[in-house]
């Protein structure tokens, strides 16, 4: 038996030998909204992180996933914990815009790059010393609103009524559609608000129907988007109904049922990847992700796609960043930031072409118009 002192020495030597190896792991800190009001968005994202490989470019990746309960304070706490305690090399999250906006300062203070999975363009624009560290994967509302305005113009629509959530999502969409509609020569003639949990939207819908718009846009996410739609149909509204990409999940189809027929909405191409032409490079990437996802978790969700796209960005950027320094160091984080800014990646929702002024990097390839036909998403011409 070895003397006690040499055992201690051996342990110390082992520990010293192990430390650099442990440090070489790349830690990715994720905070997302798997519970609370945004749970329907956060759960598929959480599922997606379970599918991801644990090595990139030969380096071990630790995905540290925390839930912020759709709560801004909790998201900031998570971000502080991930940077302070887990010493993460990159921060991913959160699911929703208010949480992501609140996390920016934490990421910048920690000189850690952050990739948000929330929609608002305010997260990355305008480019500044702060947003230098911030990237995001989902399409901005502006991009999607333009797609809606183009489709409305093509359908000969002159006036539009708007009903949306009485929160940041609904207000953001109202502002975007007003801007897009104006450029397309369309007038917004009615604006109504409702809450996700409202048992009735009869009042709002009656007011919109009374204004007789050619089309109605519903600014909502998930199944709550079905509430005004069903009410519009019940009140005999005959114009076109538009939804936002927020409703692109199977539960919406289940709840809206036949009242959804003919509804148009913009979406990331992954929703209808089977119907894309083979020449579209997104088709292959989306197929790879969705086959994996559907095998384990059931029907696809475009929100899971946003999570997968953060992985695709990281997979492209990490080999570059490794040239700048070892994981866990300031140099590596700065290198990762620089590499993300140069990323040119085909993903499930579009093609990211990042640049110093472009930290979202998506263009028209990241949107298609989709029509609901008999409980199915159909690519509109």
């Amino acid at each position: 038996m070895l003397p006690r002192s040499s055992l201690t020495a051996l342990a110390a030597a082992l520990a010293i030998a192990l430390i650099p190896a442990a440090r070489a792991d790349i830690n990715v800190g994720v905070t997302l909204s798997a519970t609370g009001p945004a749970a329907s968005l956060g759960i598929p994202e959480k599922n997606t992180f379970e599918l991801l490989p644990t090595t990139i470019a030969g380096e071990k990746i630790n995905w540290i996933v925390l839930d912020d309960g759709s709560d801004t304070t909790k998201a900031v706490q998570n971000a502080k914990k991930l940077i302070g305690e887990n010493k993460v090399d990159v921060l991913v999250g959160s699911t929703i815009t208010p949480n992501s906006l609140a996390m920016i300062d934490v990421a910048v203070d920690g000189e850690t790059p952050m990739i948000s999975m929330a929609a608002s363009s305010r997260i990355v624009d305008p480019a500044s010393a702060k947003t230098r560290w911030i990237f995001k994967t989902p399409q901005s509302d502006a991009l999607m609103a333009d797609a809606i305005a183009v489709s409305m113009k093509a359908n000969g629509i002159k006036t539009v009524g708007y009903i949306g959530f009485a929160d940041a999502y609904g207000d953001g969409w109202l502002a975007e559609i007003k801007r897009s509609a104006q450029t397309a020569g369309i007038r917004v003639i009615a604006e109504e608000k409702y809450n996700r949990n409202d048992t009735s939207v009869t009042g709002q819908v009656l007011k919109i129907v009374a204004a007789k718009p050619d089309a109605v846009l519903i600014g909502a996410a998930g199944t709550p988007g079905a509430t005004p739609q069903k009410e519009l149909v019940a009140r005999g509204y005959k114009g076109k109904i538009y939804q936002t990409h927020g409703v692109a999940n199977p539960d919406f189809l289940r709840v809206v049922g036949k009242d959804g027929n003919g509804t148009l909405l913009p979406s990331g191409p992954m929703l209808v990847y089977e119907q894309l032409p083979d020449s579209n490079p997104i088709k292959k990437v989306a197929a790879e992700y969705i086959t994996q996802y559907e095998k384990r978790f059931g029907t696809r969700s475009t929100f899971g796609g946003h999570a997968y796209d953060t992985f695709l960005l990281l997979r492209a950027a990490i080999p570059e960043a490794l040239k700048a320094g070892k994981p866990g160091t300031k140099e590596f984080r700065a290198g990762l930031r620089d590499a993300l800014e140069k990323a040119n990646v085909v993903a499930t929702h579009g093609v990211f072409v990042m640049g110093p002024l472009e930290h979202n990097g998506l263009d028209n390839r990241a949107r298609v118009m989709v029509r609901i036909e008999n409980d199915k998403w159909v690519l509109a011409k």
Binding site: T35, N195, S200, V201, Q204, T227, D251, R254
Partner: protein
């Protein structure tokens, strides 16, 4: 606003108001008998709709598991009690009631769900399952602290609300559900379309209110509850067990809430967290009734429904603000006109 719009809004307001009225009644009942401000009542509403929607899809959902788990806990509590008292008398029937019956309902739910039984059977099963949660919750969470202050009971209620909310997310998922309409009929009354569904909701609520009134005034059990509500100590001296009164109250309360859930399922999309806001509006109604008067609470709830409907037309962005601001003048008026009837104990 023309007359037809006003009529439609009134119809919408009365339909929602009827549901709030039922909830207000349940809240008043539970508070009067047990002094519990029943915050988780909303979860019972959501569980009602979502269990029924789950059965529609042939799924028994996690509620069967919850029932089974609570039944086992209640059974263990009974055994511990019997062991402490060293008295095995009456244990068998109590175990059958507290553990056997809920387990049977849970088992039935799991067995019958995949068979896609007729709609009526699905509704009956839903009501049975959600109602059974009521007394179990009382037994496990409230009865051991039945003599605690109103504040402690309220804190327990809030905790249970969050627990049931989390379980709801787990059982039913984050997205909402609707159930198929009971009827698609609609009637023309003076140029205004009245949907059969809203009529059904109002009539059923009315019927349930009448049944409850009959129960409290004409039946022995109902009178026992009524007596407990009026004077707890007096009722106890007269031989009405507070534990029995509490159990019965939570059974009736849970049944009413589950019923609300079944009623609103076809009108609106219900989420795992929808219940709280619905019960809060019932609570505003109950507050208008001073948490003691049934008719005033029901009228208050109807007022909430109408106010909500009309304010959603006039100022949709401020709808909730308007509805919940209503409680301020009511509280002021009540505190000025009535003396404080809930004395510090």
């Amino acid at each position: 606003m023309d007359l037809s719009i006003a009529a439609l809004l009134a119809q919408d307001g009365i339909t929602n108001g009827a549901v709030y009225a039922l909830l207000a009644l349940a809240l008043v009942l539970v508070f009067a008998v047990t002094r519990v401000i029943w915050v988780p009542s909303g979860e019972f509403v959501a569980y009602g709709t979502l269990t029924l929607a789950g059965l529609q899809l042939g799924k028994a959902s996690g509620i069967a598991g919850l029932l089974a788990a609570m039944a086992v806990i209640a059974g263990v509590m009974e055994l511990v009690r019997a062991a402490k008292l060293r008295d095995g008398r009456g244990l068998a029937p109590r175990l059958a009631g507290w553990t056997g019956a809920p387990l049977a309902i849970a088992g039935l739910l799991v067995l019958v769900a995949p068979l896609e039984p007729p709609f009526v059977v699905q509704i009956a099963l839903t009501l049975a399952a959600v109602t059974a949660l009521g007394p179990l919750l009382y037994k496990i969470a409230y009865e051991p602290i039945a003599e605690a202050s109103v504040l402690v009971l309220l804190i327990v209620s809030v905790a249970l609300h969050f627990a049931l909310l989390g379980l709801g997310l787990w059982f039913f998922g984050a997205e909402g559900s609707r159930t198929p309409p009971f009827t698609t009929a609609s009637f023309e009354v003076g140029g205004v379309t009245v949907s059969g569904q809203s009529l059904l909701v109002v009539l059923t609520s009315l019927a349930l209110i009448i049944v409850l009134a009959w129960f409290f005034n004409r039946t022995l059990y109902g009178r026992a509850l009524h007596a407990t509500a009026v004077n707890r100590v007096g009722a106890r001296l007269a031989g009405i067990s507070p534990s029995f009164a509490g159990t019965l109250t939570f059974t009736v309360g849970a049944l009413v809430c589950a019923f609300c859930g079944v009623l609103i399922g076809p009108i609106t999309t219900v989420y795992y967290d929808s219940g709280f806001l619905i019960s809060l509006k019932g609570f505003v109604g109950a507050i208008i009734g001073g948490l003691s008067s049934y008719p005033v609470a029901a009228a208050g709830a109807l007022l909430v429904g109408l106010l909500e409907s009309f304010s959603s037309y006039w100022a949709s962005a401020f709808k909730e603000v308007i509805v919940f601001t209503l409680i301020l003048p009511v509280l002021l008026w009540r505190s000025l006109t009535t003396h404080h009837h809930e004395e510090e104990e």
